[in-house]
Each structure stands twice: as C-alpha cells, then as structure tokens.
Subunit: 104 residues, 2 copies
C-alpha cells in the first residue's frame, strides 16, 4: 500500500466550509479503483492546516488512474479553491510499523 500525503493549508475563515466540501468530495475519491482508505485530520498547532492521508494499492492508482479520470474534475472543483498555497503531494512506501494492539 502506497500512502499519499498532502499538507493542506486552507484559507483563513474557510475551515468549516472546507470540511463540509470534503465530506461531499470523499465519495468521489473513495470510488476510485485502487483506493484503500483516507483520513482527513486538523492540525492542533495551526487551525488552518490539515493533512490528507490516502492509501492506494499502487502509486499509479492515484497519479494516473484517479488524476486522469473524469471524476477528478468535480473533486478539483469542490476542493482546490480552498488551498493557499496549493499543496505539494507526495507518496510514501512502508519501511516499518508498530501496532500496540497487535502486540498484546
């Protein structure tokens, strides 16, 4: 599983509207082939900042499949206008993990 990571800086005062738009947009990305899971989280140190974490089966499911699909246009329209600056998106492969629950 490849993890997409994007730090999202949302225009001041638009956080509630962004979260509402994301609640709608999540159905779009969740339907993409190769989608595994997503989390949207809000930064405790900076209330305008979020992180989006999306698990994909393969890198190309995101970079070619989702971004090249017709469904990417309504996703962009719902969300991209909230971002300032426009985010850098990176992808990460697993090195190691520890799960407390799994070890008990």
């Amino acid at each position: 599983m490849i993890l997409e990571l994007a730090i999202l800086d949302v225009r001041p005062g638009e956080g509630a509207e962004f979260e509402s738009a994301f609640a709608e947009a999540k159905a779009i990305i969740s339907a993409a082939p190769g989608f595994d899971h997503l989390e949207l989280r809000r930064c405790l140190e900076d209330p305008h900042r979020y992180v989006l974490l999306v698990g994909w089966d393969r890198l190309e499911d995101h970079t070619e499949g989702f971004r090249g699909s017709a469904d990417y246009q309504p996703w962009r329209a719902l969300l991209h206008h909230f971002y300032d600056p426009f985010p850098t998106v990176e992808h990460y492969e697993a090195v190691l993990q520890v799960d407390r629950k799994a070890e008990r």
Copy 2:
C-alpha cells in the same frame, strides 16, 4: 487518537543507517505510556525523505510524557543526528475517514 506527523529529511547517503537505527529506536517509543502505533515510510519522490506517523492516546502522552521521560534521551541519541534540517513535528486530530474494507 492524536496523530504525530514529522517529515524527516535524512542526510544523503545515511538512509540505510537511519532505517537500521530506527528499527532499534522503535522499541523505545513503543513502550511509552499512551503510544498507539507508528509507521515509518520512505518518500517515492525524494529518497532522502521519510514520514514518521505516531498515534498517541492524548497529545500530552507525546509532548509531556514521552519527551519528558528518561527514555527520550536514547531516542534522541539514536536518531536526531540523521536529520538535516531538524524536523518540525505537528499533531493532528481526526476530522473524517473512509475505509474501503469497512464499507464492503
């Protein structure tokens, strides 16, 4: 659950050594009260970059408990010399999530 997020830029040429040190250091953080899970992942776009994601029951389990513990000193000694620049660490609270497997 609060997610600690740190983008780790490791000195060029020290990636393998860093991963080996982290495999040792993970036992230290995993034993901290309030630790839930961690993932270390390597960036596909920049091989010197990693992301560390650590789940904590409460923010203070990291910022006060782990960082204030005696165990933080060997953690620092094992890992901090690999980072350039020294990373910014942020914490994120849940807004929403989607799990494909849970929906099937």
